[in-house]
Amino acid sequence: MSTFKHIGKDFIPHDVVAKVTGTAKYAEDFRADGMVFCKLLTSPMPHARVKNIDAAEALKMEGVLGMITADDIPAGPPGFAPSLTREPMYVGEPILAVAALSEQAAEDAIERIKIDYEPLPFTFDPLESLFPGGKDARGDGFNTGTLAGLPPGKIKWTAADFARVKTGDELPMGKPAEEWNYGDVEAQFKQCKVVYEERFVTASLAHHSMEPRTCMAYWQNGKCFVHASLQSQSFALPPLAQMLGVKPEEVVLIAEYCGGGFGSKGSAYPSMVIPAYMSKKLGKPVMMRISRAEEYYLGSARNAFQGNIKIGFDASGKLLAADVYVVQDSGAHISFWDYRAFGDALALVYQPKAMRWRGVPIFCNAPTRTAQRGPGQNQLACIMEPLVDRAARELKLDRVEIRKRNNPVNGSLAGGDEGKRGPVTSAYIKEALDKGRARFNWDERKKKSGQKNGPRVTGIGVGQAFHPAGFAGFDGLLCLKPDGKLHIHTGVGNLGTFSHSGTARIAAEVLKVDWENCVIERGDSRKNLPWNIGQFGSNTSYTMTRTNFVAAQDMLAKLKEIAAQDLGGKPDDYDVDGAKVFVKANPSKSLSYGDAAKRAIALGGRFDGHELPKDINPMTQASATALAGQGLIGVAKDNLPWSGQPAAFAACFIEIELDLETGMHRIVDLVSVADCGTVIHPMGLATQIKGGAVQGVGMATLERLVFDPQNGLPANVGFHQQKPPSYLDLPTEMFTDAVDKADPSNPVGAKGVGEPLLGASASALLCAISDAMGGHVFNRTPVLPDMIVNQMAGRPQPRKPLSINTQ
């Protein structure tokens, strides 16, 4: 496909008008006959055992209908966050839910419930839990464990490990939970011209989904109807059914609109099933609106790190060796493997000749944490990029050049583990840096670095980041109906990127259908949706273009077959365009798409979905079966060749003015460039790039979760305390661009987009701050005004190098 009909062209996604006019219905906007409300009673303590619940008075109150506790919801696997609990492990963890005719009545009842708590030890510092005999976050004996590959367990370091270092200033580095290495790290360090070893901390920060995870559920005719706020559609259904204790076909999941997730709504989450269980108990539909404060308890946050990083460069700026140790504060329950991604991303983005990675995730009494846009990779960018600048400064190298000196190219090895390192499918980070460099006018502008205007100093920064960007093996499903309309069924959720439509356009492209004649079927499991990947991990562009491509190829072949049957000749004699399949040699001999659909229904069998491929997922099978007889069916599993790791990159350039006397900065200019393969939807991409850049500003300089370690209280449970950037914290104009070079392993050249955009801007901003301060200072995110003021005044910082969860 050299010239595209749809790909690379802007379009108005069908959901945009509803979103901007307010007619879009989110979970909270639905109502059902007899619907009641439920509210949560959440823990006031960071860790406690619920010895007794006395709800007698509450349940007698007017309008109060019932209560469910942890006893009413089956427990999940050990270590995973429960929906309701008798052992809350953070302030705000739900203990029970009360249903009533109104939310006020439910809350009034909750105030009358008397709970007898037995306070238990708690901690907000992984190093405290790693200390022999130190306090653990959980009462079940586990202090470590992660989502995949590291089952819940217990790790304690030795007193000797701790005795070797100065408390709070150095990382003890006892036995890790996991480790890998390749090359001869020590030998490579000996070859280095400069070697840096630093302790670092990256703070946890909330996902800030604009729409809290409100949910409404009811049971009807043997099915559970769930209106939920989710990034994903099809992918979330099986785990939701499992949590509800029913079969997937017994769940109707409606998630047509979602007000942001950023990783926190990638699949079914524990609180989602509370209204369904309450509804089952009461026999009434139940709405559970989640408040902003509750969203900070239930809505997840990024994993925090304490770590030690040692890196060495040769005189040319080549990174020869890296040795990193990451201690992850995972929150109270099983979380994502950010700590692994930190090491894997370092190995890929900077291609050190030898490297060792060690990591251990540890539970703390903070709300559940999960993947947040670039989990691990973006923490790496924030810590590593300023250190690269430090090397560039010391080695007198251009900062863009030192990055390119280390960057991967097509086929470079990804991952870290010696035996498992495989190639990336494509890598155009160097091109992204070059494009941004030109657009930003780096070579000229860097001369302004350090220029003073009174106390205000110009800082120029460049940053880069990476994220894996695609999977394979999911299904595509299309139905061409007798009216000539192409129905593109997609299980892609509506996480705000328009990828449900962007990836669907690949089917329209292959079949050369006008966009006006396409109907996107999505957002409701009753719409016969195929088994698709979840909308997380920057996977959708790569993965779902493949599924729509294979389904369209299947339909294309069937169209030609039908035409050959009806009009003579061989299928290969035919081509498609203008809603027709026609003889290449004689285009006037043709069959319209509508007629082809009618013929498919008449032919039956595999043409209209009565016979289906054996390798498709049962969900796709059921959906295609439901569509059988309605038109020409295109259905296939993505069995396209897939070797290597699709890799998304981004580069960002930022100019700031930093006031050294107040610590406040102003972003003067921001240019961000994505390496996301072929651009599918330019407007959607620009929005993605800007959104990522804005989140990066928050991660770098504003946002962090703070806990009082003595009382276990969370310091920030509202937008004004969490401080995500507002539009007044940003330049009015931000520039975006893309490399737009095709990934060879994707039929349209697409690969992931979303995640590295955050890390690129966060690290560029941190590098710009260091630049304005005359060199690298802080191995910590976020960098706050008070840190800068202290530094410039020569005052000691109140935070020790490894202080975590502090202000």
């Binding site: 509750e294 106390p455 610590g663 703070v706 806990f707 009082d708």
Partner: protein, 328 residues
């Protein structure tokens, strides 16, 4: 932790000051509310539980900006946006306009009133979380402990409580030597702004001298400072929707390069707007230059007693005061 669920309450909406004062006296467990930007936060979290709200926002007599021979009177219900955009305030009492323009966010400034801003309660995050601290009637301070997260807390005037005055407008009001007009059913009184704000040593449960049954009706600005040299600056983590880490407001009368009169006030360093009298004394009679500014800055932080995380406020305050003297 019960959060974000407003309880039910009775609502009264008087259209006159007299009506409001009467209701305030007659209705038990009542609470006066205007813009609501402080109050609703408390109610939503059920940390303060009035049974009735007396919404005074409909009393038109308490709105508006009026210039007179004596100076300027601004009604307590005037919104911060109106103040920030007022031509007379911008041209003659510039420091007030600048301070009002830096409060919170545009949306909040559209709803928030001058009176509400001056009367707002402490923003110490522990106190706002609803804990039983001294200020809330308990017997401890959660912020002033070895591990307390007290980056936003005070440098001066700690007395069991270490919360700060959160207002951006209050330092400007004190710098302008304004008077607060207070009404009650006993009549009306005028109090100098400096005396209006009180610290924990005076009364740990209140931020102002207002007693139950009293309401701020206006703020009067004397003509003396109209058109003086002004300076306002606020430092916060975010450019918008954030409380000050430190702010400074100053008014100076400068003749031929010499500082004749000065009032310099810092916010967010003490439980009240901190008027820096020793700085004023140090600069009066001095030329307005870098040397004077340096002395002013150093003088500003004298006597500061920082806690664990707020030591940065010392250099920050010094820098801001230096700028105020040098750059106004």
């Amino acid at each position: 932790m019960s959060r974000d669920m407003m309880p039910t309450f009775e609502l009264y909406q008087p259209d006159s000051l007299e009506g409001a004062l009467k209701l305030s006296k007659d209705v038990e467990k009542s609470w006066l509310v205007a813009g609501g930007q402080d109050s609703y936060d408390w109610f939503k979290d059920r940390a303060k539980r009035p049974e009735a709200l007396i919404d005074i926002s409909g009393i038109t007599a308490l709105k508006g900006i009026r210039e007179s021979e004596a100076g300027l009177e601004v009604g307590a219900l005037t919104t911060l946006t109106e103040i920030a955009e007022s031509e007379v305030v911008k041209s003659k009492y510039t420091v007030l306009a600048r301070a009002a323009a830096r409060v919170a966010s545009p949306q909040i400034r559209n709803a928030a009133t001058l009176g509400g801003n001056l009367c707002q309660d402490a923003r110490c995050w522990y106190y706002r979380a609803g804990v039983d601290c001294y200020r809330a009637g308990g017997n401890t301070c959660y912020a002033d402990t070895p591990q307390g997260q007290n980056r936003e807390h005070c440098l001066f005037g700690a007395a069991r409580c270490i919360a700060v005055s959160p207002s951006d407008v209050a330092p400007a009001v004190v710098a302008l030597e304004a008077a607060i007009v207070i009404a009650s059913d006993a009549g009306t009184r005028e109090v100098p702004a400096e005396e209006f704000f009180i610290g924990p040593a005076v009364d740990i449960t209140r931020m102002t001298i207002l007693k139950p049954g009293e309401v701020v009706t206006a703020v009067r600005f004397p003509k003396k400072w109209a058109g003086a040299k002004f300076y306002f600056e606020k430092v916060a983590d975010r450019a918008t929707w954030d409380f000050a880490l430190v702010n400074v407001a100053s008014a100076m009368i400068i003749e031929e390069g010499t500082i004749k009169e000065a009032r310099i006030v810092c916010g967010a360093v003490e439980c009240v707007p901190r008027r820096l009298k020793s700085v004023e004394q140090a600069v009066i009679g001095q030329p307005q230059n870098e040397d004077t500014a340096l002395i002013a800055g150093r003088t500003a932080s004298q006597g500061a007693t920082p806690v664990q995380y707020n030591g940065y406020k010392i250099p920050l305050m010094e820098n801001l005061v230096r700028r105020a003297v040098r750059d106004s």
